[in-house]
Structures are given as C-alpha cells and as structure tokens.
Symmetry: C2
Subunit: 576 residues, 2 copies
Amino acid sequence: MKWIIRVNTRTGKITKQEASAEERRWGGRLLVSKFLLREVPPTCDPLGRHNKLIIAPGLLGDTLVTTAGKFSVGGKSPLTRGVKESDVGGEAGKKMARLGIKALVLEDIPERAVTKILTITANQIALSDSPELGGKPVSETIQLLRRRFGGQVGMICIGPAGEMKMASAGVAVTDVQDVQIRYAARGGLGAVMGSKGIKAIVVDDAEAVPVQVSDEALLREASKALAQAILADPKTENRHRYGTPAILMVANEIGLLPTRNFSAGQFEKAEEIAGERIAEVIGARGGEGCSGAPCLRGCVISCSNVFPDPSGKKTVASIQYENIALLGPNCGIGDLDSIAELNRLCNEVGVDTIETGAAIAVAMEAGVISFGDAQGAKDLVRQIGQGTYLGRILGNGVVITGRVLGARRIPAVKGQAIPGYDPRALKGNGVTYITSPMGADHTAGNAFETAQSINPIGKENQVEISRRLQIRAAILDTMGLCLFTRPPFVKRPELFAHFLRGRYGWNVGYEDVQRIGIDALETEREFNRRAGVSEEFYDIPEFMREEPLPPRNSVFDLSLEEVQRIWEVKIPNDMF
Amino acid sequence: MKWIIRVNTRTGKITKQEASAEERRWGGRLLVSKFLLREVPPTCDPLGRHNKLIIAPGLLGDTLVTTAGKFSVGGKSPLTRGVKESDVGGEAGKKMARLGIKALVLEDIPERAVTKILTITANQIALSDSPELGGKPVSETIQLLRRRFGGQVGMICIGPAGEMKMASAGVAVTDVQDVQIRYAARGGLGAVMGSKGIKAIVVDDAEAVPVQVSDEALLREASKALAQAILADPKTENRHRYGTPAILMVANEIGLLPTRNFSAGQFEKAEEIAGERIAEVIGARGGEGCSGAPCLRGCVISCSNVFPDPSGKKTVASIQYENIALLGPNCGIGDLDSIAELNRLCNEVGVDTIETGAAIAVAMEAGVISFGDAQGAKDLVRQIGQGTYLGRILGNGVVITGRVLGARRIPAVKGQAIPGYDPRALKGNGVTYITSPMGADHTAGNAFETAQSINPIGKENQVEISRRLQIRAAILDTMGLCLFTRPPFVKRPELFAHFLRGRYGWNVGYEDVQRIGIDALETEREFNRRAGVSEEFYDIPEFMREEPLPPRNSVFDLSLEEVQRIWEVKIPNDMF
C-alpha cells in the first residue's frame, strides 16, 4: 500500500501520490491521527471546508491474516468535536488495500449540496453525479450500485442521515454478498461524508496487482499461529455460536446492562434477548437466518449472524450486543423482533445504533413516547430518515436530544453516547470513556473482558486496565485486526511484530508494536488538546456520580484526578 | 451592601451571611466571575446541580449616580459553556442593593421540576410553591405577582422558555411601572434559573434601611459631573430622542447591518425601521407610545421607548437596535409593526431576541420558512413558547438550530449568536467576539463607537480598541453603570475613582479602577480556561473568513494569532 489519493470535493480534482517513507509506516487508526493532526485545523467546523474524511486500511489490510481487513474511517467528529476513528469490517477495506491504497482523503466541501459517487479501480478514480441516489436508504443504495457495478465491487456509503449531516450518521460498508451491512458507526463520520456530497464509494479491485510481501513464510507462520491462538480460546466458540450477544446475560448478571435510559443495570427480559435465545430463534426459524457468519472473508471467529423474521426472511444482519443493549433494554424493549427491526431501520437510515438507542431512551424519559413502546421507537427512527424536526433532533445524537428536550439525565461523555456498559458497574470502562480521545467508546478499551478478574465496581486497577486496553485497541485498529484477537496478545504478543516483519520487512519487536499504539493515542490526544476537547474538560455524566445503579447500587466514584493519572501510571510489560 | 444570600433550591435552606472584606470589594460582573471561579466546577453541567445562578447589584447600585442600578445575572452558560454575565436595568437591582444585598446565589437544583418563587424583604427571605405560574408568559407572570405583592416590588422572572431550560432563555426584570420588560438576555441564564425551579424573584425594599455612604459630598459632586458629561455629549440627545435604533442608518451605511442571515450588510428597507422612523411613528400614533423613557429611575439618558400599535396601544417596550437588527433585516423583515410584535413575543416567551433572530434566520435559510415571512416568524416564536419540537430547536439557540437543520452558515462565536454588527464590516467587534470570555457579545466591547475614527474594515488598531473597550465594559458592568456613560471615560476618567471613594471610602485612583476591569476579565478567562472554552479554541465562523460581505465585500481577515495578541498588547493609558 503506497498510494495516497486525495479528492477535492469542491473542485473535483483528484490526485494520487506515493506515500513518503514515514507515511508508509502508518496505517488505519495511526494514519488517521497523523493526517488529522498534520492537515486539519483542530478547531475547524467538522462539517465545513477544512475537515477531511480519511479512509485508511490497516497495515495488514492486504494480507490473509485472519480478521485483517478492517479499515479506519476518520476525521474531526461533529459529535465529539475531536479526533474520530471508527473502524469496520466488510470488503471495501481489503479491496482498497489490494489496490495499494494507503489512504483515501476526501477534502473540502462542494459549493452547493450535491450527490456524487466516487469510483475507484486499478486504473481510474472518478467522481460522478448520481442524483438518483439522493435520499435513498442504504440497502436500496447498495442494490442500485450493485446493478451498475456488478457483484464484485466493495461499497462504502451513507444513508439519508449522513446526507442531512446528522451528527449520529455512520458510514456503511457492504460484506461479501450484501447480506450484512457493516458500520463505521460512531462519531458522526457519515455526516462528514455527507458534507462532502459523497453518497457512495465503489471499490473495484478486479485488476489489482498481487501484493508482494517481505517474508511470506514468516507472515504465513504468524498468521497460522494467530488463528490457532484464537481458535484455542474458549471464548471463540461462544462468539462463533452466539455472536457478540453472547455476553448479554453476563452483562445483566454483573448489572451493567443499560436499562431504561441508564436507570438500572439489569433488565427483566434479558433472557428473551440474549445470545442463546438469538441462536435458538435463528435455528428454529431457518430460512435466511444463520449464525457464525464472518464480517469479512477469512475470519476464523465469524461472530456475525443473520436474524430472520418469523417467516425466515432476513430482518437484519448482523444483530450485535451494543445494538441490542441500546435499542432494547435501554429503551425498555424486550422483544427480539422489535429490536432487530429497529436495528434494520437504523442501518437503512444510516445512523449509529448506540447513539440512536441512547437518544430514543432520553426522548422516552422526556415523555415523547413511553419506555417499551417499540412501535413508537420504530416511528422515531423512521422520522430520522424523513428529517422531521423530531427526527433531526434525535439524529443529532443524545446530547442534542437531551438539551433540546430539556432532559436532566444525558448518558454521554465528550458528546458521544455511552455504549452498552454502564460505567457505574464497570468502572474500567468509565475510565476509558473519560480518557479515550474518542469519548464514550467501548471499542477504545473495553474492560468487560476483565470483569471476572478485576472487581468491576471496585476502584482498584481500573485506570491501569483502561490504559492497557486502550493501547491494545490502538494497535489493533492500526493493523486492521479485530478486537477479538485478544488471546495472542496475552499468550504470544511477539506475533504482532512478526506480522510487520513478514509483511513489510520492518525490524521491529513487540515493544515497537506497543509504541505504535502509544503513538496513535498521543497523536490523537494532541489533536484534541488543540481542539479544546482534552480529557481534562470531560467527566462521566453527573447523574452517574450521584445516582446509584440498581441492583448493585454503585456510583462512579473514581475522581477525575485518579482517572487523569492514566497516562502517567506505570504498567508492567506483561500487562500489555 | 454586605449580605450574601444563598438559596439551596434542593433543600430549601436559605442562609444570609456577611460578605468578607474581600467580597465587599466585589460587585456586579466582578463578583459573578469571582464567585463562579471559586464555587462552580468549570466543567459542570450548566443545568445541573453544581452550577449557580448569581445575582449581584453593581458597586454603585445603592447610590443615586445616574444609570447606576444595573445589576448582573451570572452563571455558567448553557449556550457558551463558559462564564456568563448579563446585566440589566429595571428596578429589582436597585431594590436588592437598598436591602444591602451584595449577592443572591441560587444553588443546586430541585429533585423534581417545581415552580417556586423567592420573596425577599428586609426581614424575610422565603421560597414558596407557585404552580399557578407554571408555563405563564412573562407579562402575565408579572401581572399575577403584582396583584399579590402590590405596586412597589421589583421583580425578576423567566418565561416558559426558561422553564423548559432552553439555552436562549433570558431573565426578565420589571421597570418602575411594568411598562418595559428589561432582559438579562444573553447566554441562557433564564435556563439556569429554570433548572433551579425558580420562576420569579420578588424584591420588596419597603423597609430597607437608608444607605450610609462614606463621603456624601464627593459622591454627589462626582455624580453631578457624570450627568453633566453625559448630557454634554452630542450623542446623548440622539439617544434620548431615537433610542439605540439611532444607529441603525449608520450601521446600514457602514454596511454592517446583519441582513438575511448575515449574507449582506445593508438592508433595502433600512429607512423604514430606523430610529428616526420609530420616533415618527410613535409621535404620530400617540396613545401609550413614547420616546425618551428611562429603563431605571434617575437615568439622564433615557433612551428607551414604548412602541405602540396603530391604535396607540403598547406593542412592546423598549424596542432597541439589536432586536430590530436581528429580528428585522437579518430575517428579511422590514416592517416595524412585525418587528415590534416579534420582539414582544420573544419577551413573553422569555428568549434573547438576538439569539432568536439569528436562529430564525438560519431556519429561513434552511427553508423552514422564507426570508421576509413575518407571520411565519411570529409563529416560530410562538412555537418556542409552546415547546414544539421546532420551537425547542430554535429556543436552544442558533448553533443547535444550525446543526439540527444541517445549515452551513451559522453566525455564532463560542456557541452564542453574533449580534447586530457583522464582524466583516466592523472588525474590532470580531476581535471582541473571539476574545471576550462572553463569546459573541457586543456589550462586552463594542467598536461601533470608533467606526468613525478607525477604519472598520481595516485591520489597524482593532485589537487594541477591542481590548480597551472590553476593559471599560468590565468596569461599568462591575459598577452597575450603563455602557452609555462613555463621555466621562474619555474626558473625566477620575470620576470613577471618586464614585468608589465617595461610596465606600476606598483609597483608589483611576488606575485601580482599571485594575477592577482587568481583574474581572482575567478571572473570567481563567474560568473559561478551566472549562475548556478558552478563546484559543474559537474563531469567527468560517464563512465570514471566506464569503465577502456586500456592499463592501470585506471578509474577516485578522488571523487568530493577531487576535490572540490582545491580552499582551500595550495600550497607552489615555486609550482607556
């Protein structure tokens, strides 16, 4: 991967230049942070001329390493007003990587609102007007593009919410057979894409030149070892069978499952929406439903699913823990079909399910509809797509929803909705929400995996754990690997250096790999410092410091001073 | 003035303690900044438990010095997220001062939404439930309270917008005969009052003990000299006759009058809405209409008016330049009766006319209604009071309106709408908007008065002028004097020291007075620094740096670096 492609969405000018030696060592999340800090004025309007949408495959994006192929979408977030990197599976990232594209940078904004598509092949990169796609839901957009470009291209697109520049809009990506819609969901990057008038990006790697790696044998060996380590982990089978919803019953048991706008940590209907129940329903209904599907080719975990309606027709793919937690219990909704339909609607409209579930619950608390009103909730998501005033309020995320509706309890940190782990019952995540340059984001350092070994409502080791997990997440997001490659991190960390040596011939050890993660975090923090959204200015929502969370009745009680020590605490190497 | 009164709106506990020696030297704006920095966590939720609403008469509030009696309302702003002090005329401040109240501090928030009133007499301070006032427009609230408390009390209250915690809600104050409704309008302090469940504050100074001043003769002499200096100034007569709208034709001529969402600086119907025209209409219609009224007793300028409808019945009092500029030309509305009615509606609903005019114009540009649609605009203001979804969007100010509606051009700095001086054609005001701790606020340092002596579209001296004016504004806001006491600042600055010596016996010179202003600004800046809203993170809206403003086709072109020099530039003493 050596090409940096820049598309000026105002002038239409497209340039393709070779990455410098320094840039070649960047990928995915690290590249996003470096480009942002170098090129985007930190205080700029996220939807204005000076922001950029940066799309970058991970460093291993063009390899066959399992789970590699996730890619980063980044820019200044309209939600957090700071750096934002959101990564995603699907096929487009692998195809970009196979075309040798290190980064695709969308710059400036058009003079007037337009609807364009960007097509990328080995030989040509072109912008074209596609007014017929204007306002189209995501799956229809994909169908229309598929008809035009055939079955082999990868696609990245936005829904109506992104076109309307709503701050909870995500960026959608197709999987191999248009079964799943994957999302770089968080932080409103769909709105940034929308501000640039780009409805979709079509990536055709048919004529890609085969990739030359530095040490094929080393890469193959490390790749095999990674797959083995993953497969040997007891959690993998669970993930394969039940997907991310496998954790729902545990989350409920710990008492951290957001319920009715974060007013409780347990939901009385948890069993009816848990991973086991999903697998059961999928099995019983048959048809298009399935479990154990990959989000991108070559993943040995394959934790995705296709959730069918009672007739066996696909409702949504894939239904995941976060979506269930926020659209389900957090809205008082305990019916799987309704949650799946809400998830589908969010995917069609093009909004983050976490942000949307949180916003709907705040609206419920404000009396717009009642908790548990699934039909009402579906109508609200449809209104987001229609751009009604209420829909626009909700589509701009939980903070704007809360402010506009005069709500007291707004579950967000740094402008972004808190995901499916109430920080009062999983304090390590609270530390991550406050200190991560991404704001409230479980993928930036999720302490859930440590909830068995570290008391989740104790204060001990939460800061250290968050730091360790944040660095690991930054490494994986830079490599383009899935967060579920945890086992080798614990048992065979040297593999990550082997990947880089095998792929690129870099003379690196695991300590250098760690430095990559730290570099990404430091670069992001510097951008945020200059943007005025340093962690020193943000805290857990006040109600979470005062209102005990049933059933364990804990509050978030790490002081800001304790939390802010995070970048200074010493962590033994074996904690990475 | 020696009493600090604290009202805990959660527990109902009320305390009255004597001010310390240090606190006694604070008043008005300086007191607000000192209390905020000392007592309010800078990153707190402005509508949560930790913010405070601070009401403080100016240092001269209990004297007969002309224009003295303005008082400060302050707190952390829900609009700018930083320090906010908004000062206002009317009678309540003088009455508080006569009761010896240095500061009234509303603390915490009630567990549930309540509607209470706070009554203050010489002998008792009490909170009481007044659910019958819930949701009532401002003038009806005043009438109901007047019936209960009689003709002599001063009142401070909020409208439905404040009760709904809308970020553009202001704090209303009665004048001597309930003719004018004066507003501490900016920054959303009405929402802070609303968050505390206080609908109104009634101040009865009937049994106040006469004030003992230190040097009666010196105070009287200085007071007389101030009045003479004001009366000797040629602008005073103009202000008395035409009010603040006297400047409208000049603003139009310079080309800085916000027109159609800041897309032009001249309005084709300027003459029809100018000060001269207003005086003419008032004269011709007679009835309740009048010009040359004071906003508080004892003002020798008396720049207020009562604008009548064609039958002579009062529409609104007082109609002022800012209100006209933002609700009129900026919305493409050139009909005085419509503008007066819009102003009246804003006063009833309880929102800042500047913020509201700016928000409506953004909504017009977004296609909600058309520019010039006065009936539509009135309906929008009514919707704010009704709390419809669109009303709630607009009531939360121009930035939320712009974001929710997906607007490109949002005329705000630091979260607050730009007032009636486009910074592209009056660059000194641009410097103030960026650097003032208050955000875009003309009263924080208005370079309009220098537009004849300093080229308003040149870059020269704009930074110096802004600094000089900001310090002066901070001094006057601390003393509780009107900004129109400019003439003695130029000709007899020593008077301001005489006031403090006469009233308090302080051994101060004019340099000490300057230090008061600088101290207020520095304290405010420190609060903002800790809140994450330092001036380094804010700029003029991007479109104002790129889009030339007709007719002079200037852009705002002082770099942020040039602007940020402001606190370091040297200004000769005679520039104060």
